[in-house]
């Protein structure tokens, strides 16, 4: 005689979670595992355990498709605007909409700022001297902020192309990079490009990664901005004695060249 006791059997499952804080944007994907299990006691009388009957194997969420926040008001100023001259001092100012957290949120966080310079900037003089101590940081110890050239292509594939200039500014783990207006100062090795209307784009990213037990994760992106640089040569003067080819400069007038 068939049993009349009903059994509830489900196959379609839906779970909704609210107020989940999105992760950072990464080039790698994070695996999400869903396990279905049921209680059973083997052998009889033993402690009941959960036995997995089904689970995901490759479910991933491609966080590289997450949209990063926008760095606003990114602009560059230079004191030396003559083409092919070493950049006297370049200032990059920008505003962050996000706070890049420090160890207060996770003791394993590492924070960094990545800068991609327009391709025509010349860095043959070596790594530029970049000062980030005027940024809004929880710690402003200049000695603990490091700058390294990036030729990895990890953050921008052009960084590994000869002639392109990329730098990573690393902050101490405990540092919080706050929201709001920031500025960094660049001096030294960079040289202005030739005079072109649009030399290329500055690209700036804030990044974070974890370092757990000596294992570092990929950098994840938080904020990003791109600005087109615009290098225009200013009018300059070539002194008359520089024009003289035979040492007979007498009577020669200074010549001028025009900017564009």
């Amino acid at each position: 005689m068939p049993s009349s006791k009903p059994s509830t059997v489900t196959q379609l499952v839906r779970l909704t979670m609210s107020n989940v804080k999105n992760p950072w944007a990464k080039k790698t994907t994070g695996a999400i595992t869903i396990q279905l299990s049921r209680d059973a006691t083997f052998p009889a009388g033993d402690t009941s355990q959960k036995y997995i009957i089904a689970e995901t194997t490759t479910l991933t969420l491609d966080t590289s498709k997450f949209s990063v926040n926008t760095i606003s008001s990114l602009s560059a100023t230079t004191t030396e605007k003559v083409v092919q001259e070493a950049i006297g001092t370049m200032g990059l100012s920008f505003t962050l909409a996000s706070q890049v957290p420090g160890t207060a949120e996770n003791s394993n966080y590492e924070q960094a700022l990545h800068i991609f310079f327009p391709p025509t900037i010349d860095s043959s003089g070596g790594v530029a001297s970049i000062s980030a101590t005027s940024m809004k940081l929880s710690s402003t110890s200049a000695s603990s902020i490091t700058v390294e050239a990036d030729s990895s292509g990890t953050h921008d594939e052009n960084c590994q192309v000869d002639g392109y200039v990329c730098y990573i500014i690393r902050f101490p783990q405990s540092t919080i990079v706050d929201r709001g207006a920031h500025s960094i100062s660049i001096a030294g090795s960079l040289k202005n490009p030739i005079s072109v209307a649009t030399a290329g784009n500055f690209v700036m990213r804030t990044m974070i990664r974890t370092n757990t037990g000596g294992t570092t994760s990929d950098w994840a992106y938080i904020d990003m901005a791109t600005i087109a640089s615009n290098y225009k040569a200013t009018t300059g003067t070539i002194a008359k004695d520089k024009l003289a080819v035979d040492g007979q400069a007498t009577g020669a007038a200074d010549e001028t060249y025009m900017g564009n």
Partner: protein, 90 residues
């Protein structure tokens, strides 16, 4: 005289059913980094889950970089079929 011998089956090496990516749908209300969003997971189990007879547990494991501490489990739904538990038995 023949004796019966005890025999145990070690099922630890058995593989659970696989839930493939195509079985699961994940939708987000907002995909901007570090924003609070609502996540909606829907999937079809490859094996019937007998809720009232054997108990059923569903475990979600997220990557470390998800901050779930502020997450709220808003709803959990199962779409049930009612059927006799022993319809083929007598």
């Amino acid at each position: 005289m023949e004796f019966s011998a005890s025999f145990s089956l070690d099922a630890r090496a058995f593989s659970p059913y696989a839930i493939t990516d195509t079985d699961v749908t994940v939708s987000l209300s907002d995909n901007k980094v570090q924003q609070l969003a609502t996540y909606d997971f829907s999937f079809t189990s490859p094996v019937p889950l007998e809720v009232d007879t054997a108990g059923c547990f569903i475990r979600f494991i997220f990557p470390d970089d998800f901050i779930i501490t502020s997450g709220d489990f808003a709803t959990f739904e199962g779409y049930f079929q009612m059927q006799p538990s022993s319809s083929t038995r007598t």
